[in-house]
């Protein structure tokens, strides 16, 4: 690097530093006049506890902040087209519940703001206090916090203790490794005839979050750390996929569609189900009075440590208006407060980003005691890693191409290494 370009770079850096500092000062300390902000939220798009709890939190916030009116806008998380269409139509998009895999696109295209750029540093630090450091990292991209983990969860192995007993297995010793999943699965199939194991790794609607965690647990990555090269056809990943393929070939791993799996588990026909803990509510509803539902952490590859990652969403601020930014930040603070996470965890069924409220009887203490199923989920919070979003305008197509290849390799009888390699080449061509 020659001297001149270094100088230029330094000036540029300084300039951005200055401008962000200026912006940070521009956001008012309080909302001193009436303002309306929109909150794009996918929980509002469905009926049930998620929507009810969200509405409750919003109205509590408005009661405490009479100057702020929050307009909740429902959108389908499966496609971000509502947000994109509204931005294209010039509609105000202020605060968004962004799925983690959309984070890159939200930053580069939807104008998501880094919190460091708009919120005074001391205020930010004060709010982050008590939050799980791993949880905070989830919303960090290129070194800045664009999103604050909001409704998120980790993969857990749900299992049917009654089927375990019927197969002569000890329900207190659920499988902790993939080898054990296979061994126990074979016994379950043989002794009970029940469906042994299924997972939300592949298939329509599965996205790639769980796959990322499986590959990482075998010390692989689906994408390089600089997020330029796809690596899901590298040996570590091929090995992980081959393991899944072996589970299928041995008859342990059932290929069911997502809803089918969920209902099979809920109805008591499936012994083990690796899936996001967010499905806990639906599974509890199905198992009550029928069988004993338990949960465990994600299985590991031998003695390699489990490296689970999260599913779910973060909160991102998109507005450029300082007053609205302040209002959005206030709402964000409220939703991610001790009280906010108490509601989110106990009423919707996600994880608390604030680990200090878990044992606090004023918040989640009693609830956690009464809900042992959440334990493996909390345990994994300590080793949680981010769900990497794919970069560029074709990020969704990249995910689809990758996951199609994985599905083909696991269930389609195709050669694992070759299929993944072909898919990786195709997907790499779509990278920016």
């Amino acid at each position: 690097m020659n001297r001149k370009s270094f100088l230029n770079g330094a000036i540029a850096l300084l300039a951005t530093g200055l401008s962000t500092a200026a912006m940070a000062q521009a956001i008012p300390a309080t909302v001193d006049q009436p303002v309306t902000i929109t909150f794009y939220n996918y929980n509002l798009a469905s009926a049930g506890i998620g929507a009810e709890a969200t509405k409750k939190l919003i109205s509590e916030f408005m009661a405490a902040n009479p100057n702020v009116t929050v307009v909740g806008v429902p959108y389908a998380s499966a496609d971000a087209s509502r947000i994109q269409a509204d931005l294209a139509a010039g509609q105000p998009v202020d605060l968004v519940q962004t799925v983690f895999s959309d984070l890159d696109f939200a930053v580069t295209n939807f104008g998501a703001q880094a919190l460091e750029d708009i919120v005074p540093a001391d205020e930010l630090a004060a709010h982050f206090e008590g939050m799980s450091p791993n949880g905070l990292k989830l919303g960090v991209l290129n070194g800045k916090t664009y999103g604050l983990a909001y409704t998120f969860s980790t993969p857990v192995l749900f299992y049917n203790a009654d089927i375990f007993k019927a197969a002569g297995l000890d329900p207190d010793q659920p499988p902790t490794t993939w080898e054990a999943v296979k061994a126990d699965g074979m016994i379950i199939k043989e002794k009970t005839g029940a469906q042994a194991f299924s997972a939300g790794i592949t298939g329509p609607g599965a996205a790639d979050w769980l796959f990322q965690g499986v590959v990482r647990s075998n010390n692989g990555e689906v994408i390089s750390r600089d997020r330029k090269t796809l690596e899901f056809a590298e040996p570590a990943s091929v090995e992980a996929v081959s393991m899944l393929r072996d589970l299928v070939d041995s008859g342990v791993y059932e290929n069911l569609d997502m809803n089918g799996t969920l209902e099979s588990m809920a109805a008591g026909n499936l012994a083990m189900y690796l899936q996001t803990s967010a499905l806990q509510g639906a599974l509890i509803a199905g198992s009550t009075d029928k069988y004993e539902l338990r949960s465990s952490t994600m299985p590991s590859f031998g003695d390699k440590p489990v490296r689970p990652n999260n599913s779910g969403s973060a909160l991102t601020i998109h507005t450029k208006d300082p007053l609205k930014q302040r209002a959005a930040w206030e709402l964000m603070k409220f939703l991610t407060s001790k009280h906010g996470y108490t509601v989110i965890t106990s009423e919707i069924g996600y994880l608390p980003l604030r680990t200090d409220i878990v044992d606090d009887p004023a918040y989640l203490g009693d609830w956690v005691k009464a809900h042992p199923l959440v334990q493996p989920n909390l345990k994994q919070l300590a080793v949680l890693e981010p769900w990497d979003p794919m970069p560029g305008p074709n990020y969704r197509q990249i995910v689809k191409t990758m996951m199609d290849g994985v599905e083909m390799a696991v269930f389609g009888g195709a050669d694992v290494a070759e299929t993944l390699k072909a898919a990786q080449e195709q997907a790499q061509a779509l990278m920016p």
Binding site: A45, S46, A47, G48, G50, A51, E52, V73, P74, A76, S77, A78, S81, R82, A85, D86, A88, A89, G90, Q91, G205, N259, L262, E263, A266, A267, A278, L279, G281, A282, L283, A285, G286, T288, D289, K290, G349
Partner: protein, 292 residues
């Protein structure tokens, strides 16, 4: 007078058909009945299952007994409490009715133009209208959304109606049946000095009742069942339609089967009742319509 005379030959066929049925007896028709009964069961079973499931209590949702062992209205209470179903139903009725009337109106006008006149580019225009049938809705969805936004109509019932002001189906079906209409009758009316506007409404329309009625039913049903456009537009449940309400019970965190079936039953009920009441007319109107 002339018109009735034209319509009569079709009616005349009736008595003769009745006579023929007497010949049709024996094994052949018994086997036919068995097939038809089976087919009817296949058609009705899912509808029955929807209603039966909606009436089961929450912990019996996965039961497979044909008749619910115990009944409960909990699912209905839950569904009614979590989304404004009544409001959504009213919206859907209003939208479907308006769309039906407007689409029939524009369809009648356009079809009349094709049936009555030869004009420059008439074939081309007709083909262009027919081709809109092949344009998948998803293609125009986003541009339409932007247009609606520009008009300031986001989150309004009007936006759900506007793009359906005309349809290729209505124009084509009506044009086809108008062409089949005896030209002498139109000519006669014209001789009597009737203007084109009056010929359409006083001569053609009364005689196309069958087609119009069956087309109305088709338009109403398809608008009632529309899903993707309202899904893109809906912001507040109060301004949305019943299909969106139904869809709200199917989430990525699992489907709330009981409430979903309750909401589905409530969504299907109005249309089923209308159908049962008007069933004879519906079938008859299709029999007499030019849709063939």
């Amino acid at each position: 007078m002339t018109i009735e005379a034209v319509a009569r030959p079709i009616g005349l066929a009736k008595p003769r058909l009745r006579k023929k049925t007497a010949e049709n007896t024996g094994l052949n028709s018994a086997a036919g009945h068995v097939v038809m009964v089976l087919l009817s069961l296949v058609c009705l079973l899912p509808v029955y299952w929807m209603v039966a499931t909606s009436l089961r209590p929450a912990n019996a949702t996965f039961e497979t007994s044909l008749w619910p062992t115990s009944m409960s209205l909990d699912n209905y209470v839950y569904a009614l409490n979590s989304i404004p179903i009544v409001r959504m139903l009213i919206n859907t009725v209003v939208i479907s009715s308006v769309v039906t009337v407007v689409q029939l109106f524009t369809g009648l006008l356009a079809a009349y133009a094709f049936a009555r006149w030869r004009f420059r580019f008439d074939k081309l225009v007709y083909t262009a209208i027919a081709l809109t049938w092949l344009v998948p809705f998803q293609v125009v969805m986003i541009p339409n959304y932007l247009l609606v936004a520009k008009m300031g109509l986001l989150d309004s019932v009007v936006a759900l109606i506007l793009p359906h002001f005309a349809s290729a189906l209505a124009v084509m079906l009506l044009a086809q049946s108008m062409r089949g209409f005896p030209k002498e009758v139109i000519e006669a009316a014209r001789m009597d000095g009737a203007r084109s506007w009056r010929i359409l409404w006083e001569v053609l329309v009364p005689n196309l009742r069958g087609t119009i009625a069956s087309l109305a039913i088709l338009i109403f049903i398809s608008t009632w069942n529309e899903y993707f456009w309202p899904l893109l537009l809906s912001r507040t449940p109060e301004n949305s339609v019943i299909q969106i309400g139904i869809q709200m019970f199917m989430t990525s965190e699992g489907t709330a089967w009981g409430p979903l079936m309750a909401a589905s039953t409530m969504a299907s009920l109005p249309i089923l009742i209308i159908y049962v009441v008007l069933q004879r007319q519906v079938v008859q109107s299709f029999m007499k319509s030019g849709i063939r």
